[in-house]
Symmetry: C3
Subunit: 153 residues, 3 copies
């Protein structure tokens, strides 16, 4: 089953590639690795929600936003290599959660991204991961997710 | 002398691999690079101390915790490749320190991790490094350390 | 035109390599990738300005500091490989902005670094990028920039 049909199973469709908010590109390949720009949870070019997790944004809401970040990341990979079946491995996920200082459950939020990647890529989607609570994210996004992806020659 | 005997010289023993707090694996290899998940200073599955550095946690205490992060990272590498003598280079260390905003000495904390890596790997342990003060870390850990490691074929 | 003459066009000169503030090296190469240590906006070994962006530091001031970070990063690459014409691609830029929680325009600051890299390397300078607002940076620096760079054999 293709990556996109596995996503469809859980009701997700790849978006058009989210336009970066500044002077850079969504993804760069070097050898067999693709380094992605930090993915914000943009939907049709807008953030569905802003604010800090543990403040005005609940962990559940942020978990949903992290799923969108992952979906945008998969779309960025597709935009670069065309065929998602060329993905060999999701190598690394870094999840940044805009957190009030006493919100210490960033991993719960970032699980939203991890779960989408597992659904999309199966065993190839199992990754190393860091989850971090940061002071603020671009456009007051509650979550930002960054990926390193290995692809076939 | 082996990596583990060099660690024993300073009284350190590799732990069992720390269990991730969420749905990911401790380390993923791509080509000759291993990307590690962010390592918390877990000891026997628990954090010996929580809180923010510059708040309830002193820099000296955090420096000790950073040593544990590095040790857990070395254990994660061993868990993946079996033989630590295959390590060619500690390429990159990123140290995240949960900081109150006026604590601006993250490098002093992260030195704890750097020193363990130098002790363990000698010249192969000399790395590039970033030190960052973040708003909050998983489980209210004061420190989290991430590694990129080059290994032989 | 050489990288250094392209920088001269906008009035920039490569500095001596900034000395790390702790026990690590400015850059490590693994295969064709160079991983840089986080670059602070040091000028002659000192920070021209300290503080948080959105607090005592304006976005415009931080944008200028981000340019210095990029310049120091280019100098670190030169220090490692000698000849900047061997740079194949600026692969990834991560810009950390020491931010008060309501400063959500880190990308505007990090553009300072991106613009220097584009000026220096042209098409090879187009990169993937993450911009993050963090709680605090070493020595109270307002900005820190990290690079991954691909070089020729």
């Amino acid at each position: 089953m293709s990556v996109e049909s596995r996503l469809a199973e859980i009701g997700l469709t790849l978006p058009e590639i989210a336009t970066p908010v500044a002077a850079y590109v969504p993804a760069v390949r070097s050898g067999n690795l693709i380094f992605l720009s930090g993915q914000l949870p943009m939907v049709n070019g807008e953030l569905p929600q802003t604010g800090k997790v543990g403040g005005t944004v609940t962990p559940d809401e942020a978990h949903e936003l992290a799923k969108i970040c992952a979906l945008n990341g998969i779309a960025a990979v597709k935009g670069l290599i065309g065929d998602l079946e060329k993905v060999v491995r999701i190598v690394k996920v870094t999840g940044f959660v805009a957190s009030v200082p006493d919100f210490v459950s960033a991993p719960v939020v970032v699980n939203g991204a991890s779960n989408v990647l597992l659904q999309a890529f199966g065993d190839k989607g199992v990754h190393a991961r860091s989850s971090l609570g940061v002071a603020a994210l671009p456009l007051d996004a509650p979550v930002e997710v960054e990926l390193i992806v290995e692809v076939a020659e």
